[in-house]
């Protein structure tokens, strides 16, 4: 049974359609990530499920029950906000205990203590339990805020960019931890982010949103390898997919209605001489980012960015010829069109 379902939900704020005709169903134990830029409607979707907003149309179901009209306290959800919201006058321990001591679901203190120690250990704040919330660093505060949701066992956790204020190392660590906790406990999570790496590494399914609309829903691999359109293709992948006009690469067999070719770094082969069969590009500059070196290529007036093979010593001004393996094709409207068989072998 679906833990959470949205059925044809819409919500507008004045003239702005924040969420349009959204239907989404999250299975028990599933980790779904909504990915999109600021203003895509991700946070509004979470708030609709939590009961912090009421939809203009459509229904919200939690564990099969229609809760569209229910107040937040009647919905079995735990919300983690982007900005930590701790009680400054309480210790870390009491902040974590707070949800467990609420009159609606009072818990035995012994049990409370055990639960808090478990969660504190998980989030590496067990040394800080006696500290006041205000004596913590930003990263610690956010971990405590996450912990405050984790001490409960609701039907679904709603998380709004909970890791975005943490440093990269901690973020990577918590990403793995959160995924592990979710898998082990079988919890259901709806998680909102604009970070594609969080989406790719944690999600069972990713929902790509833009301008209030859910554009595509699928596993990370589906979304990455078979995006429905150019927008979805551009949301995932680092460096970002190169979208170039089809006529620029004329010659290879491509579907007749292809107008744009999507080239990811794995679709591009650079041959270090200007007399290969493919189009010739010039190396504009090589950007060193530590683990990855991005090569910026100029082909006619268009730029392409691809990863450099460390063994290939490229420098600005070099001319290379390009070959392409299974690129993506998009039609006039930006929708992906399947490559024809001859195109595949090109």
């Amino acid at each position: 049974m679906a833990e959470v379902a949205l059925v044809d939900v819409s919500k507008s704020f004045g003239a702005v359609d924040a969420v349009r005709n959204l239907s989404l169903s999250i299975a028990n134990g599933e980790f779904v990530v909504l990915l999109g830029p600021t203003g895509a409607g991700k946070t509004t979707t979470l708030r609709l499920i939590a009961g912090l907003e009421r939809p203009d149309r459509g229904n919200v179901l939690i564990q099969g029950r229609i809760v569209t009209e229910a107040v937040p306290a009647e919905r079995d959800v735990a919300f983690v906000f982007q900005q930590y919201s701790l009680y400054p006058h309480l210790t870390v321990y009491d902040n974590l205990a707070f949800p467990l001591r609420s009159p609606a679901r009072r818990m035995d203190e012994q049990l409370v203590r055990r639960r808090i120690h478990q969660v504190a250990e998980l989030l590496h704040v067990e040394q800080k339990l006696g500290n006041r919330a205000t004596a913590l660093s930003g990263g610690e505060m956010q971990r405590v805020a996450i912990g405050r949701a984790l001490v409960r066992e609701p039907a679904v956790y709603l998380m709004d960019e909970p890791l975005s204020s943490l440093d990269a190392k901690l973020r990577a660590e918590l990403r793995l931890e959160l995924k592990r906790i979710q898998r082990e406990l079988g919890t259901t999570i709806l998680y909102v982010t604009h970070d594609q790496i969080e989406a790719m590494t944690m999600a069972d399914r990713i929902g790509v949103m833009n301008e209030g609309v859910l554009i595509q829903l699928g596993t990370p691999r589906e979304i990455y390898e078979r995006p429905d359109n150019a927008y979805v293709a551009s949301r995932l992948g680092a460096p970002a997919i190169n979208l170039v006009p089809a006529e620029l690469l004329a010659g290879g067999a491509m579907p007749p209605n292809a107008r744009t070719v999507g080239l990811r770094t794995e679709h591009i082969r650079m041959i270090c001489s200007a007399d290969g069969p493919g189009p010739v590009a010039q190396v504009h500059w090589v950007e060193h980012l530590g683990d990855q070196n991005h090569v910026h290529l100029k082909i006619a007036s268009h730029s392409l960015v691809t990863l450099a093979d460390p063994a290939q010593q490229l420098k600005a001004g070099d001319r290379v010829s390009l070959a392409f393996d299974d690129p993506l094709y998009f039609d006039q409207a930006g929708n992906r069109v399947a490559a024809n068989e001859s195109g595949r072998q090109a």
């Binding site: 990269a168 901690l170 995932l236 530590g290």
Partner: protein
């Protein structure tokens, strides 16, 4: 333009030492990034440089002049917090001109300076607009304009892009860097985001527990980390460490990991027998069936173009960045090859890197 120098600067809050003897030199016109985890003392260091905190000991020099005891207002430095803080009831022109108005600049001069600043930021067409209707990027540019309009000697920026989403942050990184090259102002920028640091900095200082662990160019810090902390903090995912016992000798070109000799850059110092850690970055690890250095795959994180594969070995966990087309099975036993010229050897107790040909720069590509 200005040179900023911190000499043995320390700051204690009660019994807590936030900054513990920091020495830094920020050259004229440099874009200098202080990078570190939360609580490492980077913000306190910046606040002392700005004059918002008084150091417990040490000296701060601005263009050679000792400003340690001068208040912020007497230092001619602009401090940029969250860039989004604009005055909503003012238009763009008034927002940018505000710092000058506060200092009672004549109207004509305010007008001229604001105009120049707006042209520099390419927002001169927006000067009469209300800030409420602007896009996120333009709001950032206005906030930046307000900081640069006074043409201070230096800019200090405390995670100015922290609240932005990632694409937008990437865009603003590029703009900030470009703006920096246009006005050439000394900038000290604080972040916990290593990608921001790598993308923008001329030089990076990595801080940990109130101290500077290493200062260098982004590439230096990435390729030749001086300590295990630095190696671990930089890189996503970070460097993997294989634990071993050895007595490294000058001239050694290989070291035994769990009994298997692994080729590495030539050692340039002798050490008595002890515990060491061989550090390798994920992009320098590949699978090689014939290798005797073996481990078991315990996880694979799909990232699109590449995947991060985690392998446990008898000497520790190792992460490999491999093309995502490569089929990897959890539980399978694999042989590992490490790219010899990019390996670092650390003293596992002190965390310090040993001198080798890599660190001497001999094999740096």
């Amino acid at each position: 333009m200005a040179e900023i120098r911190l000499e043995n600067v320390a700051k204690a809050f009660g019994s807590f030492t936030a900054v513990n003897g920091v020495d830094l030199t920020v050259d004229h016109g440099a874009f200098f990034v202080i990078l570190g985890p939360s609580g490492c003392g980077k913000t306190t260091t910046l606040r002392m440089t700005a004059g918002l905190e008084l150091p417990t000991s040490g000296r701060i020099l601005l263009d050679g002049e000792d400003v340690t005891a001068l208040p912020a207002s007497a230092r001619d430095i602009a401090f940029v917090f969250q860039m989004f803080a604009l005055y909503p009831h003012m238009n763009v022109r008034q927002n940018i001109g505000f710092p000058l108005k506060c200092q009672n600049y004549p109207r004509a001069e305010i007008r001229r300076n604001v105009g120049e600043t707006a042209r520099l930021l390419r927002i001169d067409h927006l000067l009469e607009r209300r800030v409420g209707g602007l896009s996120g990027g333009d709001r950032q540019r206005v906030a930046l304009g307000r900081a640069i309009v006074r043409r201070p000697k230096a800019f200090l920026m405390d995670e100015p892009l922290g609240a932005l989403d990632s694409e937008f942050r990437h865009l603003m990184c590029g703009e900030l860097r470009e703006l920096h090259s246009r006005i050439d102002a000394t900038t000290v920028y604080i972040t916990h985001d290593q990608l921001e640091a790598m993308a923008m900095a001329d030089r990076i200082a990595i801080m940990n527990q109130g101290r500077v662990e290493q200062t260098g160019t982004p590439q230096e810090i990435y390729d030749r980390p001086r300590t295990m902390f630095v190696a671990d903090f930089i890189g996503a995912p970070s460097m993997s460490f294989l634990g071993l016992r050895a007595s490294p000798r000058r001239g050694d070109r290989s070291i035994a990991v769990d009994g298997v000799p692994v080729e590495m850059p030539e050692m340039l110092e002798d050490r008595p027998e002890g515990k060491f850690a061989l550090g390798v970055r994920p992009e320098n690890v590949s699978f090689a069936d014939a290798s005797r250095l073996r481990g078991q795959v315990i996880g694979a994180e799909y990232l699109g173009t590449t995947q991060i594969v985690t392998v446990t070995t008898a000497s520790g966990q190792i992460k490999a960045r491999l093309p995502s087309g490569k089929a990897v099975h959890i539980g399978e036993s694999v042989g590992l090859a490490l790219r010899p010229d990019r390996l670092s050897l650390f003293d596992a107790v002190s965390g310090q890197a040993l001198q080798s040909a890599l660190y001497a720069g001999g094999q740096h590509g």
